[in-house]
Structures are given as C-alpha cells and as structure tokens.
C-alpha cells in the first residue's frame, strides 16, 4: 500500500466522520443532554443559594430571613446560569 492510497482512504474516512457528526448533533440524545444540563444548572444554583442562606441564618440567628433572601438570590443566579448556557448553545448553533 503506497502513501497515495493511504491518503485517499484517509480522505474518504474523514468525509464519513463529518457526515456522522452532523447526523448526531440533531439527534434526541443530545437534546436530552441539553435539557438535563440546563435543569441541573438551575437547580444547583437554587440549592447553593438556599444552603448559604441557611448557614448564615444559623450563624447570625436570624431564621428564616436570610434563607428566604438567599433562596431568591439563588433563583436569580439559576436564571443567570440558564441564560448563559442557552447563549453558549445559540452561539454554537450560529457557528455551524
């Protein structure tokens, strides 16, 4: 097998890979992945916010004021996370 044959084979193989990748990006599995990514992004921010509020409440003895405040901050942070992730996804789509 000489070098020329190898390079033509490589070209064909690369073409096939590209086709497969394009097919994959539209499939359900990646959409499921995206949905899960966004949802965990939101939930984790709410959990972290509420936890911080709860700890501060225990520390300053202000139950339940800070937990409530930080819960809403967490929701805001979650929305921010979701917004950023969605923006990144949109950028990726535009680049394609």
């Amino acid at each position: 097998m000489d070098f020329k044959e190898i390079s033509t084979r490589l070209k064909i193989a690369k073409k096939n890979i590209k086709v497969v990748e394009e097919e994959k990006s539209g499939s359900n599995a990646t959409s499921f992945g995206k949905a899960l990514k966004i949802s965990t992004e939101f939930v984790s921010a709410v959990v972290v916010g509420s936890t911080i509020g709860f700890l501060l409440d225990n520390w300053f003895d202000t139950k339940p004021l800070l937990t409530i405040c930080f819960f809403f901050m967490g929701v805001a942070a979650g929305i921010l996370n979701v917004f950023r992730t969605a923006k990144k996804m949109q950028k990726k789509l535009d680049n394609k």
């Binding site: 599995a29 990514k37 921010a45 805001a76 942070a77 921010l80 996370n81």
Partner: protein
C-alpha cells in the same frame, strides 16, 4: 434483594477494616472498581503507544483518537494557552469514561453513581481553577463577579448572585454526572426486574426495553464523560482568559 433496584449501589468493604483516626479507610467495592478502571486506562495507553506504526493497529488508533479528541476540545474551548492543562483534562476524561463504561458490565459497580466521587472530582476542578485564576490574574480575578455596565445601586445584589452562580458550578457538574448514572442504572435494573416478575409470557417487552436502554446508557456514559471534560475546559477558559 435481587429485585431491589437500589441494591446495586451499596458500598461494602472488601478485606479488613482500616481506621486511621476517625476516618474509615477500608478498601471497598468502589475502590476496587476505581482501581480496575485506572488499570484498564494504563493498559490501553501502554499497549496503544508501544508499537508506533504508520498504519495504526486498532488499539493504537483508539489511543491516538482519544488524544486528538481531547487536544482538539481544549484548543477549541479554552484556547492554546490551556494546552498546559492537557494531562489533567485527559486524565479526568479517561477516568470518568472508564468508570462509566466499566459500570455497564453486569455485576460490576458504577463508581460515578456515588455523589461523593463526582463531587470530589468537581471540587478538585473548582478549587484548582480558582487557584489558577488567582495565580494568573491576581486580585483582578474577582472582576469575574462584577459584570460591566451595572448601575451602582444594583451592584451588591448582582455580586452576590454572581458568587452564588460561581459556587453552583461544582454542584451542577457533580450532580449531572451522578444523576445520569444513577437514573440510568436504576432504570435498567427496574426493567430487568420486570422481566423476572412477568415471566416467560409477558417478559419479552421489558426485555426489549432493557436492550434498547443498554444502548442508550452506553451513549450516556460517553456523553457524560465528554460533558464533564468540556465543562472543565470552559471553566479553565474563564480562569485563563477572564471573561464570561
């Protein structure tokens, strides 16, 4: 016991109990499967790089493909300045991938379905990235929490929100991997249980589902390792190049 779908996630110790101070350091089935995954990675990389031929053998091809895959991912998401972190991201990706894949074998244990394992990995990334950011930019790294063009009145709230958003990174990173693996394996076991309880007459439908789910689970195992690695690259990018 056989029909309990959560039974597969129990951690039990193998061999003698080792206590150092108050910390229980016994060798468990989780440790065993981590060792198995690491040994498999070492074997793959060892045999893959042993004979360097121009037309690669299958095992060499796998090794080279995983190398270029991660190299390209780092280059695309974090830029060329992140090339120095290639060994870290590569190790992380291979470890998560092999833990997920080893967990797909019947009677094996999925290490990544334990939240403490994934949270530990995510914490290492989180702390490491924060330290790298501070080393690279000094006190200016805190600018990450102060977006540009925000009115002064809103600034205290925005900064707190940004900090919560930053702190939620390791949580979302670890929970995503853990929840995916836990849910997938529980579902497989539930459908497996249906096959047994419905018997030879009705068991065929859940059996078919099981087969389909196994395929999906292998895809998820790969996808989650990929997501874990790519998010590490994105966080590295934030720390190295300092923008959202």
């Amino acid at each position: 016991m056989a029909l309990n779908p959560m039974h597969q996630f129990t951690v039990y110790k193998i061999g003698p109990e080792i206590n150092i101070g108050d910390i229980n350091l016994s060798f468990t089935n989780a440790s065993l499967f981590m060792v198995i995954s690491s040994v498999l990675i070492l074997l793959l990389l060892f045999f893959g790089t042993k004979k360097k031929s121009l037309v690669p053998s299958k095992i060499q091809l796998i090794t080279e493909m995983s190398y270029t895959f991660i190299g390209k991912m780092i280059n695309d998401t974090a830029g060329s300045s992140a090339k120095a972190f290639f060994p870290f991201v590569f190790t992380l990706f291979m470890f998560v991938l092999f833990c997920n894949m080893v967990g797909m074998f019947p009677y094996s244990f999925t290490v990544t379905s334990q939240i403490i394992v994934t949270f530990m990995l995510a914490s290492i990334i989180f702390i490491g990235v924060t330290i790298i950011g501070f080393i690279k930019h000094g006190i200016k790294y805190l600018e990450l929490f102060v977006p540009k063009g925000v009115p002064l009145v809103l600034l205290p709230i925005i900064v707190v929100i940004e900090i919560i958003s930053y702190l939620s990174r390791p949580v979302s990173l670890s929970v995503r991997l853990f929840a995916n693996m836990l849910a997938g394996h529980t579902m497989l076991k539930v459908f497996g249980g249906f096959v047994i309880s419905l018997g030879i007459l009705g068991g065929w439908l859940p059996l078919g589902f099981s087969v389909a789910l196994t395929g999906l689970e292998i895809l998820v195992a790969f996808l989650q390792a990929y997501v874990f690695a790519i998010l590490t690259c994105i966080y590295l990018n934030d720390a190295l190049n300092l923008h959202h």
